[in-house]
Every structure is written in structure tokens, then in C-alpha cells.
Symmetry: C2
Subunit: 454 residues, 2 copies
């Protein structure tokens, strides 16, 4: 149907088959980890009513609005757009189905989202996110904050495992809004939200500029601004941040609560962290305008700090509410495309074959196709993915056909009905029985080839 | 963030977790079958340029057009819409990446598509399709028509397996455009396309009405119209249709070619068909306005014939072309949502639990949480999905918590550190070691409970 060579569309990344295999294995690894912890999968529709989409702060400019091509004006359907995250749809899903869900409700959701942003490095208009959340009805104990952190750390640990997909390492940075708010209140700061919003810009602006903004825009004294910057400078990989905060001499009940929660979180996660996936109490993390009320998360990818946070989230005391019941939640969202697209595009991770086939069943001549099909079906009965050669070329050409696709084995049948299987990587060729032969487990699915990023 | 109870959106189906599990197992089963046959997975972006989307006949009314909420007029970006099938995007993907793909290229693609139709029974505005296609560069031998038919028959066979997901049976109906066109040409029909379009309406209108339309709108004589209707009435489950067509006394080279291809297809698929998944040569199938040039497919779901064809496709001699090279293809597309949504909404298929957890690790008191977490982590190390009780309620309440979610086992630890696992379906409770215990394989993932539809 297409008549000319199309060009890629900026901001809408697509993968070749061997690249898509990396994404699939990443999604499988995430799904398996989340399921091991009892998280149920959910998918929500791609669209939400515009009034829901425009509720969450300043993201309105990013929404793609939908219109039917021949829409009649009286259809009352103009008000839908594509979701820009998975939190707004999930909050709606919880309210819509509250009577049919069991709480605490653990769900994971791995779907595409869309944002009409100007495409830049690491920013896409269509991208995959992987979210986990635990939602309670009325209340949700703090141990679920620990739970989602541990689950995401384990998931990231599997992605960064050099024996598996081998992504670069991750640093999960945690903080607690109660800690910041309590500290600011204890200091006597009046516009706590504005001060927090400014501190959140420390990654983008020098401390001197932030200090000036804290004074000029949030009305802080020099001493208050210095204390806020001193708090934001605290960063530890254990609970020693507590002593450092105490040394700043501010006291406040909410601060105490935040310190206790964050210390518990960091201690409870120590056993899950590895040398490739670390956790840090990072007291400058505030998550800007998002409606978090306790724990907050950001995550850096080693060597790709310029991507910003690739895995963020936190605690909402009110993820959703129907006016009578409030649903608190805690969750974290991994930007799957944000992490993968740069690595894949640089060729740092790719599958070692572009097809699922482990075996190419050679075809001596076109008359033998039914016999070759029958051999392939015997292999498939033992869960061995395979394909029959497309045409009866010389065997050397059939072997090169397999090589180009990365298929490791070629199956030959001689005139007497004897079978041989050749590992074309080593050249080893051995007799084999199609009704019982299986390859080594490692060959069953494509292997991810990765440049070790550490 | 949400403040009121939202309502479902007509035409955008969503599933509860135990329903979504059915969809996941269906998609897993399809993916595994396609991969066993060497089909590589691909995902394309959700959007295409409007000029591509409006190319395929009369579907323009169905397209959702996208607009950025605050779009500036000079952005040149108004011309994108959501894809309404997976064939248009795939044809574009093949052209865009032709230099990087190996041909014949086998791909499967399971994604949501969107159509701005008025929602009716079985028609959705957002739905999942599962497509397989084989595409050649320049040429594509007929044996690939046989291949995609066999692969889809096997996939449907697994879905209909009463020991597995247990969907109702399927009848795959096949025909060949060359057969129809050759027959009409041999009859002397001048407007073959129009005659074919009218015959395609036989499911919706009585034969008498079609006969009249063939005369009045396609200019056929009474005798020609009767012959066309006689051809359309032929339906056999083997290659005996060849004799029945010959008996109508029409001769034409293209007809001969079509008869030979269709007979070969039906014979080659006989071994794959079962009592639940049948293949029929159904000579009224024409696939209306679609650009098929040989084999055509439609599929009926037993007991749900009112849904129309739930799995359709065929051969394109030009799936795509860049002006120099033509890419012929043959493919078939299963309407996953079209099949599942009615069955799921009637409660005919559902998973036996709403969570992946096989085990609920009981919690004697809040102080034991770390110990219970450690037991859960031991189970997870052996790939046993589990969760720790949310709160230290009485054990009877914890068992009911598991029951409501369909979790089959509850794990207890006594004060002396002894472990017991209870199958709450049978009540059996036995000592167990958390470092080695695994449930029977059947319990590892949720089982699909289905009303036997046959």
C-alpha cells in the first residue's frame, strides 16, 4: 500500500527485531519480578477524559487531544486525550472498580504513554513506562513504602545483572517530604511549597542562584536559605543522614517522623542493594510539583546522569478519592524507553539473533518441503523454535541464511533419512533425533549481547 | 487525584485483574506459538501520518486524529492519527527498514488499535489485534500462504484447548481471489470487482437480493448471477470443492490457478485441524474492498457467529512498494478483544485468582514482618510468587484474605521456627522448608476457569 520510502518520526522511537527482543526481555524480567511479589497486571485504555488529564498541575501542554476525523459536533466526544502517565489512569481505575478490588491492591502496569513535547535527547512523544503501586482503602501502612522500594530495587538489579540483560547500574535516591517540610517549618519558612520547588532545581542551577531565589521568591532569610541548602547537600548510603540533619539543630515533629521513615526505608533496603544497584538517602530530592506526601524516589542510570531521573515516584496520601473514601498509594515508575532507547541506539545492547528460531531446517529440494515441515513440527513439539529454509538453495547458502539471522543450528536430513544437526558457530555436526533433540537451555531464546557499562 | 466515581467509557473495554490474566495467557499462548514458527516480534508506534491512514479505502471515517493541546499552527504536526490496524504500520515499517531486514521476513505484532466507530456489540474504539505476516522482497512463494494458515490454526487450536484456556472452537474459512476472479472472467462478467463486493454481502442479505443487485448494479445476466451464487454456495472441508466448481462448467486459466492453490492449502492444513479448530473451503468469502490478490481468510467463533469474522487476512501481491521494489505479503489478523471481551464479560472465562501470588505468608504480629519477608524471599528465590499478609490479623482472617484473592496456600511459622504450609482448598497442612518448597506446577500460575463452550 505504501508507495515511497517513509522517514522515521521524531520522538516516536521504533526498534528493529533484534532490538525489540531486548525490550521484550526487559519487560519480561520486570513482569516476572513484580509477579513474584504478588503484583497483579492491569492495562488501562489509552485515553482519558480531558478534565482528568488536565488536573495534574502544569502538564496540560503535553496532552494529545483526540478527534474523530468526521466527528459531528453534537457527539460530546471531543473531550478525550491520550494518557501522559499511568498514575492518572490507575487512580481512575481504582475508583471505577473499587467495589470489585481487594485492598491493599498491588498492581503493575507496563504500557505506552504519550506526551506532545518537543522531542529532545531522552524525551519522547511515545514511550513505555513500567509502574508498580500499592493502594489502600482508607489507610496504607508505611511498610508498603519499603515494599515498593525493595521490589523496584530487585527489578533493577535483575536488569543490571551482567549475566543477563546487563544494563548499566542504577542509583535509587530516596527522600521524604515530611522530612523536608518538617525541617522548613522548624526553620520558620512560610512558603514551604515554593522553597521545595526551588530546591528541586538544584540539579539544573548552581546553589548560589538557588540561594538568591529562596530569598527573593520564597521570602527566606539568608540563614534559612543556608540551612535549606545544607539539608539538601546531605547524601548518605546508610542512615547516618539522621545525625547530619540533627547537627543542623532544627527540631520539629514532622521532621522527626520523616527522619524515622527514611531511616527505616534505607535500613530495610540495605540487603537488597548490590554494587550495581545502590540506594542513597539524597535529601535534595523533592519531586517538584507532584502531590507526594511522604517517601519520594528518583533514580539515576550510571553513566547516563544527563537523562535525569529514569525511575521516580513516592507516597500519595490521596491517590484517589470519591468524596467518601480516600485511597492512599505508594508507587514508582520506570521509564523503560527512557533507559533503553539511548542504549539500543548506541548499539550497547542488542539480541544475538533477529528471529526466535534456534534451528533452520535445511531444504534439499522443493519436493522435500513436507518432510522438512514435519521435522520442524517434531522440534516444535519439544518447544524448540525453528523455521524451514525459504528455498532449496545450496547448503552453503542456507547456512549463510541462518548466519545472517543469528540462528545457531542448521538441521540436515540425508537421503537415507539420517539426521544431523550442525552448530554453525563451532562447526560441530552430530547425529540427532528430531523427536528428542533440544539445544542447550542458553540457546533456547536470544541472548542479550551487551557492552559492559561498568 | 480523582474526586468522583468515574464511569466506564463506551467502546474502550477494560478488564479486572482476574480477567486481564485471561488476556495475558491468550497473548502469551499466541506469542509462544508464533515464535515456535520463527516469527519475530515487532511493535510499531501508535501513530501514522494521516496520508498513510487515509490510503486504505473507505476507512477514513474511523481514524482518530491527534492534536497537541497547545499546538502552534506552524508546527506541521497536525497530520498524524492513531493506527486503525497493524497492516498499514507494518507495510510502512518494512519500507522504512527494508535495508536492515532479512527476507522472507516473518513478524508477529500484538498491539492495540483504535477506530472512531460508534460502539456496538462486538465493535470497539480500542482493541487488541494479533497479526502474523510473511513478507518477501520481490517475490514470495505460495508455500508461505500455507505456512501462515498452519501457524494460525495451531495458535487457535491452543486457545481452544479445553485443558488450557478453553475458548470455543473456531472455523477458519479459506478462499482464493484468483478462483473467484477467474470464474467471473470465464463467465464473461465485466465488472468483476463490483460483483465480488456484492457476493461478499451474502452474510448480511438474502441470495435473492444479491441476485438482483448483481443484475442491476454489476450488469450481470440472470445466468451469470446464478452461476456466481452457485459458486458462492460451495463449502467443503476437503478439496472436493474442486469437482463441484468444475461441474459448473466454467473454464479459465486464473480459475485453474486459484483452484490449485486453494486445494493445496486445504490439503496441507488437514493435519493441523482438530475437532475444535476446523478449516473449510468457503467459496463465498471475498474480503470486500481489501486489496487481496490470492488466498483470503475469515474465521468464525463457534456459538458467536454474530461477531462476524474474528480472524481475517490473505495474500497481497504488493503489501508495500517504494517504486523500485515490491514487497508481497501474506498474513492473518486475530481480533483478540473481539473474541475475548464478550466471553469475559459473560463470565465464561476468568482466572481462578486475581493476584499472581501462590502463597500468602501469614504474619503472627507486626514485629515478625522482617521474618515473614525473609520467608517470602526464600520462596521467591525458587520462583514461587508470594506476598506477606498486609496486617497481623487473626489467622482465620488471614486465610479469608487469601481466599478472597484465590491464593491457594498459606504459610505459617510457629514460635519455635517450625514451618507449615496449608492448602486452603483441601485444608491439608504439612511441614515445609521455605528454602526448597515449591507448589505443584499447576498451581504456579493462575488457571483459567472456563465454561465448556462446546
Amino acid at each position: 500500500m505504501s508507495r515511497t520510502t517513509p522517514k522515521p518520526m521524531s520522538g516516536f522511537p521504533e526498534f528493529l527485531p533484534a532490538q525489540r527482543e531486548v525490550e521484550r526481555q526487559v519487560i519480561d524480567t520486570l513482569s516476572r519480578t513484580f509477579e513474584l511479589h504478588g503484583f497483579a497486571n492491569v492495562e488501562t485504555r489509552a485515553v482519558e477524559p480531558m478534565d482528568q488529564l488536565l488536573r495534574k498541575g502544569d502538564t496540560s501542554k503535553e496532552v494529545y487531544v483526540l478527534r474523530r476525523l468526521n466527528e459531528e459536533s453534537d457527539e460530546g466526544h471531543a473531550g478525550i486525550g491520550l494518557h501522559f502517565d499511568l498514575t492518572v489512569p490507575f487512580a481512575r481505575y481504582v475508583l471505577e472498580n473499587a467495589g470489585k478490588l481487594e485492598f491493599p491492591f498491588r498492581r503493575y502496569q507496563i504500557q505506552k504513554v504519550w506526551r506532545g513535547e518537543r522531542p529532545q535527547d531522552g524525551r519522547f512523544r511515545e514511550f513505555v513506562q513500567a509502574d508498580i503501586d500499592v493502594v489502600g482503602q482508607g489507610e496504607l501502612p508505611f511498610h508498603h513504602d519499603v515494599e515498593v522500594t525493595r521490589v523496584m530495587l530487585q527489578a533493577l538489579g535483575r536488569l543490571a545483572d551482567p549475566g543477563s540483560i546487563g544494563l548499566p547500574g542504577f542509583t535509587l535516591q530516596v527522600n521524604n517530604r515530611k522530612l523536608i517540610q518538617g525541617f522548613y517549618q522548624g526553620l520558620g519558612v512560610t512558603d514551604v511549597d515554593e522553597a521545595m520547588r526551588l530546591i528541586d532545581k538544584l540539579d539544573k542551577m548552581p546553589a548560589d542562584v538557588i540561594r538568591k531565589l529562596l530569598r527573593d521568591e520564597a521570602g527566606l532569610t539568608d540563614e534559612q536559605a543556608d540551612q535549606c541548602l545544607a539539608l539538601a547537600a546531605i547524601s548518605t548510603d546508610d542512615d547516618s543522614f539522621v545525625g547530619q540533619v540533627r547537627a543542623l539543630g532544627v527540631s520539629n515533629d514532622l521532621l522527626d517522623e520523616g527522619l524515622a521513615e527514611l531511616a527505616e526505608l534505607v535500613r530495610a533496603c540495605a540487603g537488597v542493594a548490590t554494587d550495581r544497584v545502590r540506594i542513597r538517602a539524597e535529601l535534595k530530592i523533592a519531586r517538584g510539583l507532584d502531590y507526594y506526601t511522604g517517601t519520594v524516589f528518583e533514580t539515576r542510570l550510571d553513566g547516563y546522569e544527563n537523562l535525569g531521573s529514569i525511575c521516580s515516584g513516592g507516597r500519595y496520601d490521596s491517590l484517589a478519592s470519591d468524596g467518601r473514601t480516600t485511597y492512599p498509594g505508594v508507587g514508582i515508575s520506570l521509564g523503560v524507553s527512557r533507559v533503553l532507547v539511548p542504549l539500543v541506539n548506541k548499539g550497547l545492547v542488542v539480541a544475538d539473533r533477529s528471529v526466535p528460531s534456534v534451528v533452520l531446517v535445511a531444504l534439499p529440494d522443493e519436493e522435500s518441503r513436507a518432510a522438512s515441515d514435519a521435522i520442524a513440527d517434531q522440534l516444535r513439539a519439544n518447544d524448540v523454535p525453528c523455521e524451514v529454509a525459504a528455498s532449496p538453495q545450496k547448503f552453503g547458502k542456507q547456512i549463510r541464511y541462518a548466519e545472517r539471522r543469528g540462528i545457531p543450528y542448521v538441521w540436515f536430513t540425508d537421503r537415507e533419512g539420517g539426521h544431523q544437526v550442525k552448530d554453525i558457530r563451532s562447526g560441530d555436526q552430530v547425529p540427532a533425533d528430531p523427536s528428542t533433540w533440544v539445544p542447550p537451555t542458553n540457546d533456547l531464546k536470544p541472548t542479550i549481547v551487551h557492552t559492559d557499562n561498568q
